[in-house]
Symmetry: C2
Subunit: 301 residues, 2 copies
Amino acid sequence: MSDSVIAVDWGTSSFRAYLLDAAGGILERREAAGGILRVRGGDFAAALLAEVGDWLKQAPDALVIMSGMIGSRQGWREIPYVDCPAALSDIAGGLERVDWGEGEAWIVPGLLDESRPDQPDVMRGEETQVLGALAQMPAGGGLVCLPGTHSKWVTVENGAIQGFATYMTGEVYDLLQGHSILGRLMTKGAVNAGRWFLEGVGLAQEGGLLNRLFTARSRVLAGDLPEDEVRSYLSGLLIGDELASTVGAGESAVFLLGAPALTVLYEAALGKLGKTAVTLETDAVAAGLFALAQHLRKGGS
Amino acid sequence: MSDSVIAVDWGTSSFRAYLLDAAGGILERREAAGGILRVRGGDFAAALLAEVGDWLKQAPDALVIMSGMIGSRQGWREIPYVDCPAALSDIAGGLERVDWGEGEAWIVPGLLDESRPDQPDVMRGEETQVLGALAQMPAGGGLVCLPGTHSKWVTVENGAIQGFATYMTGEVYDLLQGHSILGRLMTKGAVNAGRWFLEGVGLAQEGGLLNRLFTARSRVLAGDLPEDEVRSYLSGLLIGDELASTVGAGESAVFLLGAPALTVLYEAALGKLGKTAVTLETDAVAAGLFALAQHLRKGGS
């Protein structure tokens, strides 16, 4: 089974791997809780072998290619960021090989956007997902949102990543739930894209986030907001604030790339604001890693 | 020493008391860490006696009057909120007497602002501080900011509190420092009203708070923001966001009422935005409690 690829998306707290055939088709996939922070003694070679050793036996010539925080200072090796704008070939140019006593293994560089001096931004992993989703976007262009703990908003033109911005939306939600005065009101009901979520999205367009968050408490006290909808209301306020400064009065269409539990919320929020959301399929990272592997094999790096 | 007043500001985590003479002059003051959450078994009478029993011996006829969270469900007794707009006489009308086996003791009601149905708000304690500061404001009117864990913005006209809004500014700062990915960058240097604080205030006017907070990290990575200025930068972003929605393009003067360590930051931030800040003296709560006590003695309640 020559020309196979083992594609690995290795983040701070997650590990996803794909065994791909010579055409990029997914033969097998697996997930593990083995994020880089859980790797004992920093022995990433042993950790990788434990996860995909059986695939390497099946396909000894497979090329291993990894993206995400595995290329950060806390990962296997710190790979320098590539500057924006960055097309596939620019990112491939920053790939670095790691020697681990097994077959060929490479790590994808992250991206740095310094186009706005007071707002530099960095990412590791999302650039590969976006590369893999290009084929799903018209003429390789559009605004892509990757929701999460740190949501990324990526502008793509002519198949190249022009720039991006990070929003701490998911992390602030977790902080409120875990440690704030609002936490005691956030114990019932799962977040849903219903009335209270949409109310939060709408109110956030008026600004004043730090006040609006507090109204979750006063609206419960006033008997207005049901306690099992507090999570949805706060999620709506936070996602709404993110959207106010990303799409606002501008962009009319957004491509969503992420876990369905999140993209469904963003889809509803964008709909509330009169925008169009196109949800992309979520194995984009495998497609992105395969495209980079192809580039390597053609001798592009 | 007849007609004395023992004025108590009793919050969630703080206790401040004043012994006032018949003209409202401060004879003595004391502070304790005995916020309502620290009162063992909810025995507020015993806790109060422990704090001010010696004053009651000096002035057995003193009227005790208390404001703050002592009037909440977690306090001595839950006192119903008084609706806005509320003048001194309206707040005095909501005073409730507690029987504790000693002299006369009263608790001040909190205020409820339901003028905006989707943004109801409540406070307990700040209304009394504002009443006490009225004499320092021209014609009893103006916009008052009481910075803190939960900042309050209070609109006063004709000597009456017309409405108010709460901002979670201080609490969100504490969450970021204590529990977020930014926390590890917030270990050096005290918050100061210098260059990086003002930069944060300015950038916050453009919106996108959830993104701007993240730039603290990327600007440190980019070698732009010194690590010992991260606290000041984040404080500027948060206070700046609060100001964007409270003063914005409108109000030109703000009265500040609070701890000097905070009012000095708000003063600098308002200056950066071209607004005028007038810092009020901080024993306003004693003056407010004295005015309410006078109202009681004249038989107003």
